[in-house]
Amino acid sequence: MAGESIIRVNGLFKQYETAAGAVPVLKDINLTIASGEFVAVTGPSGSGKSTFMNILGCLDKPTQGSYFLNGKEVDTLSPDELARLRNDALGFVFQGFNLLPRADLESNVALPLVYGGVENGERRKRAGEMLAKVGLGNYRKSLPNQISGGEQQRVAIARALVNRPRIILADEPTGNLDTATSREIMTIFTRLNKEDGITILLVTHESDIAAYADRLVRFVDGRIVYDGAVTRLEAGKA
């Protein structure tokens, strides 16, 4: 399954300037992720894993070091070029679902296509297909507050998939969901990874969620302390 490297990070540092001085958050991160991998990112709060995901998601820039996405160096790109990458190379799934409350499910799923410049008819068609793929084909005109949390997260996944990205970045996607629903969501992620070959990076602190991944990267104090197979021991530390 694993192919060429899709994400490559070299000597990455990130620090925030505060009134009290510079606060280092990431210290010398080196990581390569191959196309088609399913990686769980774990670590305690404040370990820097969220900052790392923001950088991978082209929402934030490193202080130092380089980041290659699909072989392209990202930190030299303009804000507009970064927006374009977020639009077609990446899909985001958040803990809080982050759907637009006033838009129906179809419009929510179609949102990335709007910014990708896709025609209206095509947008509806592809949004419909993606909703069907996550099992919500009959809820196209519903509003987010009319469906359950698990269903909302499935809509968010459909939105992340609609522009056919090769990578999905999921930040605690099951954090707000009960166990049974979490299992459903993880099944969808697993299927996307195994059947469609989509690379998945998943931030979690639950060991049974991390267990769905093939590879585990563990952050502590801004450094990677573990990078390898998902073992019961390492997953349990999450």
């Binding site: 929402l59 934030d60 507009d80 977020r86 949102l111 990335p112 709007v114 910014y115 990708g116 939105r159």
Partner: protein, 406 residues
Amino acid sequence: MIGPMLTEAWSAMAANRMRSFLTMLGMVIGVGAVILMLAIGQGAQYEVDQSIASMGSNLFIVLSGSTTSGGARMGGGAAPTLTLADAQAISELPSIAAVAPIAPGTAQVIYEQNNWSTRVDGTTPSYLEVRAWQLAAGYMFADSDVRSATRVTVLGQTVVKNLFGDENPVGKTIRIEKSPYLVTGVLAAKGQSLDGRDQDDTIIIPVTTAQRKLFGSQFQGSVRFMMVEASTAQAMPAAEQAINQLLRQRHHIQESADDDFTVRNLTAVANAASATARIMSLMLGAIASISLVVGGIGIMNIMLVSVTERTREIGIRMAVGARRRDILLQFLLEAVIISIAGCLAGVLLGVGGAVLINGIAETTVVITLSSIVLAFVVAAGVGIFFGFYPANKAAHLNPIEALRYQ
């Protein structure tokens, strides 16, 4: 891109109906006020222009010079320096349209048991053209009446009302200072002059009749003043010069000597009055524009609130690939929609109010297309101007912080 943005703008406004309505109301009142005030101002200007036009257009008044009698200077018009022959000569100048020599006076006029004291102008038939005056009935006396000094008269409306009531005066005979005069015509109503005099309280008779029979002048053939109409407004300076030259020549005035006549340009007075009305109109518009600016600030205020409320939404949009200019455009579009919708309603309000005032107060209000277009352009401009700051603020949010915003 614009299509979904319009939908989004609409749903954002629909989600906060009351707020959108109140924001829009600021623009509605602003635009309505501008249109209404411009309509009232232009109406006032129209009325001033009308009363200026009633005086006659492109007019000069040529006054005869003053005279000194026993050490007392008698003022302009007292010396018998202007003659009917002068009037004739001036009327032959190329830049002149018409000349009416005038021998004015006041007389008691009597018809049956009614009598009335009124202004009597001895003049020629060209008086009607110079004063831009129509006849309401009958006909004007002719040049032949002037030549033979006939006792005929044309009456102003106020005189008709006081002497005749509802009776038709044409063909009747009135007495002016004991002599009978045949009424040949009636002047149309002209209303008040700029200085508030009743222009209709007058009668006109042939100038020769006035000179020889009514007032009796020791200088036969002289007139106090004449009204001279230039052919066009552009020709007025040339006409003034030509009149001066001609009269100096005719009166044999030496190079060094002063004129024995005065040429006054009435257009200057008219222009001043017109300018006053225009300034008033502008001032009304300017005051109303302030409310438009206040409306614009209302839009900015609400857009800032909206940006803050929708911070998370902005973060989501940025995460899925919205560029800064997409966010900017979206919020700008919302501001412009609010201001243009408010403007449309404001135009209706302003026009409706103007029509209402026209009906109730019977003052003239003039709505011009240009004032509507102006209000519209200003409103769209206000929307863009005051919408830009909030929209730009939204576009420059940090996506990470925006996503985290609760």
